[in-house]
Symmetry: C2
Subunit: 187 residues, 2 copies
DNA sequence: CGCCGCATGTAAGAGGTTACATGATTCG
DNA sequence: CGAATCATGTAACCTCTTACATGCGGCG
């Protein structure tokens, strides 16, 4: 059994929140789940088509002139059933791969400056991500269909924040260490 | 440019710490980098062979009876150069995918019990991982070739610990929330 | 006048996981 | 006597990313 295709479920999941086009879906991944799930465009359209062929979604083509037609997908009963089945299954531990740490692990002292710079750049990204968290957090009360759902969404944010905080804290620990190594090596 | 093959560098990196067989390498990934890097067996042997064909490693076959011959790989000058080049390059943000959070995001209240159980299982894994951290941490002083390397290895552990702590803390937050949702739904 | 947003996709090509295959030895 | 360790690999399979392709309209 090869690993299971999770893109299917990610798409189905968002379609439970209303009909959407491929374009909508790609946006929604960026805005709402970028801290724990990303999808590349090249995966969205082919997978949507496959879901359609399997009857897990239906589609409605809306003609537009001056623009490509919108193809709006909606989830079916069967799609819902498949999604629910997947959610209920225990999730297996996923392979872990952190390229940055791998580099650090094999680095020599003379790489310290480059690594330090790299970390600084990443720190900036983390801060940008924190902003996105806040904007989504504020939207939850309006978006959440039920109180339980509201709480669950908050939990997904919470882990994101905790991990982000861990990374930020680590960068703040690591940068001075690397800078100190840089200085030693210079002299 | 398709995504770059990081397995190559992971293998080269460990070979800087002395000649090793494919089998050794797979073990070393488990023991030392399991908190930030994993390799599957099906990737190790083919990649080693490719590195050999490209002249980045050399090999020595040690005959054994009653067992398959050991094929011991050592890194070459060229391999070293390639590794160093890779380390110096800034690392790009990697796609993030957390299946567990994805499920939580799409879950309905009636899934709360299953999700809660799942989290409990993961908590156990986290604790086991913490143990592995400690055992490696204790080995660092003997294993580290230089003081700077020693500090870098400590940093990789530090991020692992911080993230693990974040996850544990989150589980402890999330389990009661999910259990509360379970109770509400029952009644 | 150029870039961004809307809107669809395809093609190429890794990269990576899982399962299969084999077989002796040692340890509990 | 069965499981784990040593030791090599292959086959199947697909998931996923990157880059390419097209084209209008609006905003600054």
């Amino acid at each position: 059994m090869p690993r299971t295709n999770r893109t299917r479920f990610a798409l189905l999941g968002f379609l439970t929140q209303g009909p959407k086009t491929g374009y909508d879906l790609r946006k929604v991944f960026e805005e709402r789940t970028s801290h724990f799930w990303s999808e590349s465009l090249g995966q969205v359209y082919p997978t949507l088509r496959r879901l359609y062929e399997e009857g897990l979604v239906v589609r409605e083509v809306q003609k537009q002139d001056a623009r490509p037609d919108r193809i709006v997908y909606s989830i079916t009963e069967e799609g819902h059933a498949e999604l629910v089945l997947w959610i209920a299954q225990p999730s297996k531990p996923q392979p872990v791969r952190n390229e940055q740490l791998l580099k650090l692990f094999f680095a020599s002292p003379e790489h310290a400056p480059a690594l330090s710079n790299d970390l600084r750049r990443h720190l900036d990204r983390y801060r940008a991500q924190l902003d996105r968290f806040h904007s989504f957090e504020n939207q939850i009360p309006q978006l959440a269909p039920t109180e339980a759902r509201n709480q669950m969404w908050r939990l997904t944010l919470s882990l994101g924040q905790r991990i982000l905080a861990a990374r930020v804290g680590w960068c703040e620990e690591a940068i001075p260490v690397l800078d100190a190594i840089s200085k030693e090596t210079e002299s």
